[in-house]
């Protein structure tokens, strides 16, 4: 994985030096690329799950920065925000998963090898582990753009194409798959089933959408989603080796496809620039056609890698995809029942992949140029751009020839297994919780329990081996079916896409695919809009009702009561009671002063009355 990241990163750096030439923020672009490579390598090398999480988010940041690189475009700015937030949804799941794993058992550790050791040696409630596993996988769902969090990846194509090649095709999106491989030993069977179906659904779903897209990068984006679905599906059925192998081959050919499309867009852009035409979309395939004569190197690079992705023999994609399909088919042979949906989705998506990829090739490079004017100005991209293309496309072949026919086979010949297996041996040994046969395994005796569990991946391996030839023939058949159909439509024009469109549209299939199953609109209507409404409502409650009405009314009540109390205080207490005493004194003194009129007889009369009164009182006592 480290090799893949570094190699693709180097080639993209090289390629970008030409692609981004003349951009006013050239140096900033390279800073972002560097940040990305740093954090991606961090994910790959980290053993602690928190370290993975940290780099995981940093990768999200660099992706955010790169998608929003041309931030003057509103679409790019929105796409970057969407990418970051969608990833965050997955990351929350991953974070909760990390916390759950941390509190597993009694030794608290974030170290993956410790965690795996712990899961191996202690009895843990399998439901708990299933939930934790699925939550950790949520992170992968976000990063690897699986359903239902795939929405950000197609929009992410607003970023510069070479960066898309690296981040959104070869490395970052593969981080999800990588993480799942890392945590594979602690995933339970139930969790794996969930993972398998997520992958299968994504593979098929994205492939269907890719058929009808006209933007060359959008097609590739959905193709990436679909291929990632493959890998995830392979993980779910236990064929993790195949998944990882596909990750590597996919990184090579998808990076190449993106760089090639970048080369096309680059020259389209320059051609349009020379014509001073700023309205035509340089990424729209409907404006292209016949480019193979003008850009032979790009054409051959793209053709080779398209053959690889379509699963044609002698190309890398064939081997890895075949291994996955064999694994899936083997899984079905083993477990039967609903798992038949997995190979159906797998082979279906394979056929569709072949179809839409060749649709892309035929529309872009074959046929007559749609616009002679643009065509005249087109020319091949410079060497700095084509060399990475050539290297990557050769690698799409070379992987196949290195070692033996089947790099995944046992023994010394299976070089890939040897290279990967070294790091992952423990996966098989420690694979304790993939309880295959029954869910009540807790009652089993420990030894027997583990013996049985170990077999899951081996089982998957052998099942895949048994199913290998069936899978190979089937996958060959569907690949050629897809290519042939595509050729009929777009190369020889024997069939008219329009009529088919109308036929299919009876069930609205075409519209659904064209509009990406309206997922964005659905999210916008059932999540985004109600959510924003709630947040405004909260703000209104918080400020207008709670604060301004309730809290401030306390102040108003205080003011009101203080006014009242002032009234009571002054009008009654002070004016009436306190002043009352004064008035009373005043009044009584006014009355009393009349007693002292200066008439001596009156004084004597008063004295007499007083004496009589006193005598009476004293005598009564």
């Amino acid at each position: 994985m480290l090799l893949v990241v570094s190699l693709v990163s180097f080639l993209v750096h090289l390629y970008s030096s030409e692609y981004m030439r003349g951009d006013s923020r050239f140096s900033r672009y390279y800073a972002y690329l560097g940040l990305f490579t740093f954090s991606m390598n961090g994910i790959v090398l980290a053993d602690s799950i928190t370290m993975i999480y940290i780099f995981w988010e940093l990768v999200g940041l660099s992706s955010y920065l790169i998608i929003g690189f041309w931030f003057e475009k509103t679409s790019a700015a929105s796409a970057s925000k969407k990418a970051f937030l969608t990833n965050r949804v997955g990351d929350i799941g991953m974070f909760i998963g990390i916390m759950m794993i941390y509190f597993v058992g009694d030794t608290h550790s974030f170290n993956l090898s410790d965690i795996i050791e712990k899961v191996k040696t202690t009895e843990i409630d399998s439901t708990y582990l299933t939930v934790a596993g699925i939550l950790l996988f949520m992170g992968a769902v976000g990063k690897s753009a699986q359903l239902p969090l795939h929405i950000w990846l197609p929009d992410a194509m607003a970023g510069p194409t070479p960066a898309s090649a690296m981040i959104h095709a070869a490395t970052m999106v593969a981080a999800g798959v990588y993480l799942t491989i890392r945590i594979f030993p602690i995933l339970t069977f139930d969790a794996l089933t969930y993972i398998a179906f997520t992958g299968a659904l994504t593979a098929l779903f994205a492939a269907i959408i890719a058929i009808t897209q006209n933007d060359i990068k959008k097609v590739l984006a959905y193709s990436t989603v679909s291929q990632l679905g493959y890998m995830v599906m392979a993980l779910g059925v236990g064929a993790y080796m195949a998944a990882f192998f596909h990750l590597v081959t996919h990184a090579m050919f998808k990076a190449c496809l993106f760089l090639a499309s970048g080369s096309v867009i680059h020259s389209m852009h320059h051609s349009l620039h020379e014509m001073h035409d700023h309205d035509t979309d340089p990424q729209d395939m409907r404006n292209m056609g016949g480019l193979k004569n003008k850009m032979p190197l790009t054409y051959f690079g793209m053709l080779i890698t398209t053959l690889a992705i379509a699963g044609v023999p002698f190309f890398s994609g064939f081997v890895s995809k075949d291994a996955i399909l064999a694994g899936v088919l083997g899984h079905y042979f083993e477990y039967g029942g609903m798992t038949i949906l997995l190979p159906i989705a797998g082979f279906g998506a394979a056929a569709i992949t072949a179809f839409y990829m060749f649709r892309l090739i035929f529309m872009t490079f074959h046929g007559k140029p749609k616009n002679e004017e643009i065509y005249k100005h087109l020319h091949e991209s410079p060497k700095v751009m084509t060399i990475p293309l050539i290297v990557l496309s050769l690698l799409s072949l070379a992987i196949f020839y290195t070692g033996t026919i089947n790099p995944l086979s046992d023994g010394s010949k299976g070089w890939f297994k040897k290279a990967v297996g070294k790091g992952y041996n423990y996966v098989i040994e420690v694979d304790s919780h993939n309880d295959v046969h029954d869910s009540q395994s807790d009652t089993h005796n420990q030894d027997e329990y583990y013996k049985k569990e170990i077999t899951f991946t081996e089982h998957a391996y052998h099942a895949a081996h048994d199913a290998h030839y069936t899978a190979m023939y089937l996958s060959l058949a569907v690949a050629f079916f897809g290519i042939a159909l595509s050729a009929l439509f777009y190369l020889f024009k024997k069939l008219n896409p329009e009529t088919f469109r109308k036929t299919f549209n009876i069930f609205k299939l075409y519209d659904l695919s064209k509009n990406k199953f309206y997922i964005d609109e659905i999210y916008s209507n059932i999540l985004y809009k109600p959510f924003m409404f709630w947040s405004y409502l909260c703000s209104k409650i918080d400020w207008d009702y709670y604060d301004q009405t309730f809290i401030d009314s306390i102040g108003k009540i205080t003011l009101f009561s203080s006014e009242k109390s002032v009234k009571v205080d002054y009008n009654w207490l002070d004016q009436k009671v306190v002043d009352g005493f004064g008035k009373l004194a005043n009044y009584s003194s006014l009355k009393m002063k009349k007693l002292q009129g200066g008439v001596v007889q009156a004084y004597i009369l008063g004295g007499l009355v007083a004496i009589i009164l006193i005598t009476l009182i004293v005598q009564q006592i």
Binding site: E57, S78, F84, L85, V89, M99, Y102, F103, S539
Partner: protein
């Protein structure tokens, strides 16, 4: 030196105020030229600068393993002996980060306020008084002293908001003042109850009360006395934090206050609430702390979610950041609730995470408010989107800015750092403390914490939305004469940005300060689970 350093930290600003008054007096007598008001600024700068150096010196000589009673810095003597009131100050692992934070932010805030032109003497002397109050709160070990410093802070704050604030400053200032005073009343009641009910003599000594307060055996109106004290103290501290539903003074005060005061409010004053919990409520009333921890977690999660939801709806950038403070302080509460985790790792992660979050939120929010201030000083508004009833109907409902990233690259770089630190991006300090708070909460209250993790997403939503609307998109030509950050602005931001990065990548130095004190606190509380 050792014994006087803490007193110096507190009273140096007071001396600064006196110095300013003497200068003003001399100026009035014509003995000194004070037409140039810069002299006050330089005095304030020197005082806070020395104070900051003292704080660093304290940190350099600080041994985190010692408790306050053993620490050489502790000062204790009788102040009002007839009522057993002591002058008792000391520093431990809990107060050390807060002292550094307060000293650092005070110094930077003087730099931020350099272009204050209105009543320079008043502004800077009040600011220094506020500074003294903050230091006093963080260093007091006597409840009475604590309470006095707590109240000392209120008054300068009232004037600083009310005189140098925005258009609604009078309303904001009075609301802040009365709301906090309301809380102080409860705190006073709690304090007096402790004083009178604690067995073994009336005392305000917080260290002595640790052993005495849990023995309180009385009841009032059918309630346990300790429960009532807890509630009273809780209301007092909760208003400062602010805990939902006591939070509504905060957005108003933050928005109306001048930039430097917003920084102090959000960076230091909010921490006093949670500091009060950890310094007084938890050690003195451990049993109640345990019983109340579910409420703590619940209120923390409500704070996180409610604050974030409100922040999303805000169209005023400063108000958005104010609400983000509500949300971020929720993490502290959630982390503190983790103390009841039976698995000790949970408790340790939660408590350390809470104190770290207090520190980190201080630096991050200071950065955010400073940057908003820089923008506001130039553009004279800070609308993300103009409100629908804006006085200029042509602008109503339109974006306030747009595309500034291309015009202001340095400013943009710092704001990206600050925003991403705010939304808890790993490798920046906010992430470490938030994650630790979550782990602490998760050890005790799983479902609540899982709901709380929604905050990770919500925080990202409002920061990224605001960032996109202000800095991305097509450039708004109206702002083509904006200048990028000046040297002075950068001098403020760079130390904060450095700390944010440093503690994001290597939090160990910060953790090392508080770890031992937190373990002691956990040991104190855990027996009551």
């Amino acid at each position: 030196m050792n014994s006087s350093i803490l007193s110096l930290l507190i009273f140096l600003p007071v001396m600064g105020v006196m110095g300013m008054l003497i200068v003003a007096l001399l100026g009035k007598q014509g003995l000194m030229k004070t037409e140039n008001k810069d002299v006050y600024k330089y005095i304030a700068l020197a005082v806070t600068g020395v104070q900051m150096l003292l704080a660093f010196f304290l940190y350099a000589n600080f041994d985190p393993t010692l408790s306050v009673t053993q620490s050489p810095f502790t000062v204790q003597f009788d102040w009002i002996p007839s009522f057993n009131i002591e002058y008792y100050i000391g520093v431990d692992g809990l107060s050390m980060p807060m002292v550094i934070l307060a000293a650092l932010l005070s110094f930077l805030c003087i730099v931020i306020s350099w272009n204050v032109e209105k009543h320079v003497l008043g502004y800077f002397s009040l600011f220094l008084l506020l500074d003294a109050g903050m230091m006093g709160v963080f260093l007091s070990l006597d409840f009475f002293l604590f309470y006095i410093f707590w109240e000392v802070m209120l008054l300068p704050m009232y004037f600083l908001i009310g005189m140098w604030g925005g258009p609604q400053r009078h309303y904001a200032a009075i609301k802040f003042f009365l709301y906090t005073l309301f809380g102080s009343v409860f705190m006073l009641l709690g304090m007096l109850a402790l004083y009178f009910y604690a067995p073994g003599g009336n005392s305000f000594n917080l260290i002595q009360l640790i052993t005495q307060a849990p023995q309180i055996d009385a009841s009032l109106w059918g309630f346990d006395m300790r429960f009532l004290i807890w509630i009273a103290l809780f209301i007092g501290f909760a208003i400062k934090v602010p805990v939902f539903p006591f939070h509504t003074w905060l957005p108003l005060a933050h928005v109306e206050a001048p930039t430097a005061i917003s920084v102090i409010l959000a960076g230091v004053l909010l921490k006093m609430g949670t500091y009060g919990f950890l310094r007084i409520s938890y050690p003195l009333l451990p049993e109640e702390a345990v019983n109340f921890s579910f409420m703590m977690a619940l209120l923390g999660v409500i704070n996180i979610i409610w604050g974030a939801l409100n922040a999303i709806a805000q169209i005023d950038l400063k108000k958005m950041i104010a609400y983000s403070s509500v949300s971020h302080m929720g993490y502290v509460l959630l982390g503190m609730s983790g103390i009841v985790g039976t698995e000790s790792v949970g408790a340790e992660a939660g408590m350390n995470g809470a104190v770290m979050q207090m520190f980190n939120h201080g630096t991050i929010t200071a950065m955010l408010f400073t940057l908003v201030g820089v923008l506001y000083d130039q553009a004279h508004h800070r609308w993300i989107v103009y409100p629908m009833d804006y006085k200029d109907p042509e602008l109503a409902g339109k974006l306030g800015f747009g595309g500034l990233a291309s015009k202001l690259p340095i400013f943009n770089g710092f704001i990206v750092l600050a925003f991403f630190a705010g939304l808890g991006l790993p490798a920046l300090s906010g992430f470490i403390s938030e994650a630790m708070c979550f782990i602490g909460g998760f050890g005790s209250f799983r479902v609540l914490t899982i709901i709380g993790t929604l905050g990770i997403l919500l925080n990202a939503i409002y920061f990224l939305r605001a960032y996109q609307r202000i800095f991305l998109g097509p450039f708004n030509e109206k702002y083509s004469d904006l200048k990028d950050m000046s040297f002075r602005d950068m001098a403020v931001i760079i130390p904060l940005a450095f700390l944010t990065l440093l503690f994001g990548v290597y939090p160990q130095p910060l953790l090392e300060i508080m770890r031992h004190s937190m373990s002691k606190l956990i040991l104190l509380v855990q027996p009551f689970i």
